[in-house]
């Protein structure tokens, strides 16, 4: 890791709870007081059965949703009391998202999609930013496809554009929700390899939600969520044969 301290804390959850339908008879708590700490060098798999609260946790960490209780520190800042504008700004600069379904915007080219987080934050991209976008696309192996529209790219290529987009702001935390769930095994391996590389090169903590035991086995650390509680948090075990 070059300019970053590998052990710098990126994310800390403290007794984090999340309930839906608060104050109504149907109130249900989905996350029951989670404690978790992520540092820059971390490459973590978040696993758990459907309904264990993985996606909810990811949304809360991604500042898309608010916790009901507890506190979430992002880069040392307490986020629960922030208003929507500050959360949005922090989300834009500190967090990169990769979704299961690439989620590119069809009306824009690959390069424009990559640059979108920068354009949203600061308007028309500078030549330095354009270069950064092209470089990222080259790094994900899409050299020469900058001007293609998403529908002119294969599924794997689209997901790689999405990865480049997530990284263009040089986020401290990359959140990926089943990023390879929709890809064939070759493309999946390529995308995973990208995460690995960026984790090493940019010092960007990666939190990866997956169902795939083989994928989680390749991560450094596995957090297992069962019924809204962290059941285990340990170094990843090799995949069963």
């Amino acid at each position: 890791m070059s300019e970053h301290d590998a052990r710098q804390e990126v994310l800390r959850l403290q007794g984090l709870r999340k309930s839906y339908n608060v104050g109504r008879p149907t109130e249900t708590e989905v996350l029951h007081g989670l404690d978790l700490r992520l540092q820059r060098s971390d490459f973590v798999a978040l696993v758990g059965a459907s309904g264990s609260g993985k996606s909810t946790l990811l949304n809360v960490i991604g500042l898309l949703d608010r916790p009901t209780a507890g506190e979430l520190y992002l880069l040392g800042e307490a986020t629960r009391g922030m208003d929507d504008a500050r959360r949005t700004a922090l989300r834009g600069t500190a967090i990169g998202f990769v979704f299961q379904f690439h989620h590119l915007i069809q009306a824009f080219t690959a390069l424009e999609n990559v640059l979108m987080p920068l354009m949203v934050a600061s308007g028309k991209p500078t030549s330095e930013q354009l270069d950064r976008g092209r470089q990222l696309l080259a790094q994900v192996g899409l050299d020469g496809l900058e001007q293609r529209r998403p529908d002119q790219l294969s599924g794997g290529q689209q997901q790689r554009v999405a990865v480049a987009r997530a990284l263009v702001t040089r986020p401290s935390l990359l959140l990926a929700d089943e990023p390879t769930g929709n890809l064939d095994s070759t493309s999946a391996a390529e995308v995973f390899e990208l995460f690995r590389r960026f984790n090493r090169e940019f010092g960007c903590a990666v939190l990866l939600v997956t169902h795939d035991a083989r994928l989680s086995a390749q991560c450094d650390r596995t957090v297992t969520l069962v019924d809204g509680r962290i059941e285990s948090d340990s170094a990843s075990q090799p995949a069963p044969a």
Partner: protein, 400 residues
């Protein structure tokens, strides 16, 4: 604003079929409004021109004569039986000064003192009642350009000359150079030379008006040095009313604007304008609803993209503006198309229509329509845009 603009225009371009349909809808609406407004304005302008072509905007006359009644002494009660006084022909006191004062008033473009009264025109056995109009030719021409309506002879009202209407000339069998005897009553008579014949196109005037020099009219009407009326024109005909009121306050004379003298016409024009405005309002309303519904659908269609944009740090305000810009663009582009189409309709009407009158299109109307349509677009986009801005990003991203 750059990124909102970019996203908005890309969204519009991507949904081309939808954008085109609503654009055509807006264009038709704007074209109808432009054409209708131009048509009614043209028609009204034409009617007003014809009406005011032969009359002054404001007529200033002496105040009516009233009976002066002695104030009752304290403690007594008077019973008064009063008859309205007959209004004899009277001069405006100090009309020269009044004229000079009116000349200096703002908005007033022309002032012309006139002495006008009844008389008979006689030729042989034939007798016609006429209105003598004694004028200061130079000043009067600026109110009613009689010069332009001369059909025979010249407009000359020097000593012994008169200019008469065509209808009167026909009735009395007169031609230019003929003599006519004018009888002002009580033996005041003079024989005048017909120097010119005019046709203003208003039968009443063509049959009765006899233009003479002020001095001749004064002696015929037995009002030496008098002017019974001052004609005034103003730069904006619709400002005639307040200017008239001002003149009345300033001079203590009776000042009547053309709007009062033509109350019926004004009433008709006003109702016409009102109905045009109502039609325009409803067309504009349906255009606004069209924009709103298209954008509402668009917000739903783009739910997932809104979610992604929000996840990437797009603020609620930016999201709001993306859709407001789309509304504004719909309004602007639609009104440009509609303005061109409306202009085309007007041109077609002027070229192939019944050609009863010419419809001018003022650039201000087109600019106004564009500005109004753009604002309408923004306002109609407000509700859908608010929905886009308030969307929960978590749910939006999950939207299929």
């Amino acid at each position: 604003m750059w990124v909102e603009w970019t996203i908005a225009t890309r969204f519009l371009r991507e949904g081309r079929a939808q954008s085109t349909l609503i654009l055509v809808g807006i264009a038709v609406g704007v074209a109808v409004i432009v054409f209708l407004t131009a048509l009614i304005n043209g028609l009204q302008g034409n009617i007003i021109d014809r009406t005011l072509g032969t009359q002054a905007h404001i007529k200033v006359q002496p105040a009516e004569e009233t009976n002066r009644i002695l104030a009752p002494a304290d403690g007594t009660v008077h019973l008064v039986l009063e008859n309205r006084r007959a209004q004899r022909l009277r001069s405006i006191n100090n009309w020269q000064q009044v004229r000079d004062v009116l000349d200096t008033l703002p908005r007033v473009t022309a002032v012309s003192p006139v002495i006008s009264g009844p008389a008979f025109a006689r030729r042989g056995e034939a007798l016609e009642s006429v209105a003598l109009v004694g004028i200061d030719a130079a000043r009067y021409q600026r109110i009613i350009p009689v010069q332009d309506d001369i059909v025979e002879g010249v407009f000359r009202i020097g000593a012994g000359d008169a200019v008469v209407g065509r209808q009167l000339a026909l009735e009395l069998g007169m031609r230019v150079g003929d003599k006519v005897r004018i009888d002002g009553g009580q033996g005041r008579e003079s024989v005048l030379n017909v120097a010119g014949i005019f046709e203003l196109g208003v039968r009443e005037l063509d049959a009765r008006y006899v233009y003479l020099d002020m001095k001749q009219a004064q002696s015929l009407l037995d009002l030496p040095g008098a002017a019974t009326l001052i004609d005034v024109t103003v730069d904006d005909i619709f400002a005639a009313q307040p200017v008239a009121a001002r003149i009345a306050r300033l001079t203590g004379l009776k000042a009547e604007s053309w709007m009062e003298t033509n109350a019926q016409l004004m009433n008709a024009l006003r109702s016409q304008s009102l109905s045009t405005q109502m039609i325009s309002l409803f067309v504009a309303l349906s255009v606004a609803l069209g924009i709103a519904s298209v954008l509402s659908v668009s917000v739903v269609q783009r739910t997932r993209e809104i979610g992604i944009l929000r996840a990437m740090g797009t603020t609620r305000r930016q999201m709001l503006r993306v859709f407001l810009v789309q509304g504004a663009l719909f309004g602007l582009a639609g009104s440009v198309l509609g303005g061109v189409a409306g202009y085309g309709l007007v041109a077609a009407f002027n070229t192939f229509g019944p050609r009863l009158f010419y419809i001018p299109v003022e650039p201000a109307l087109l600019v106004g329509a564009a500005v109004l349509a753009t604002l309408t677009g923004v306002v109609s986009a407000a509700l859908p845009a608010r929905r886009a801005a308030r969307m929960d990003p978590v749910e939006a991203i999950r939207h299929v």
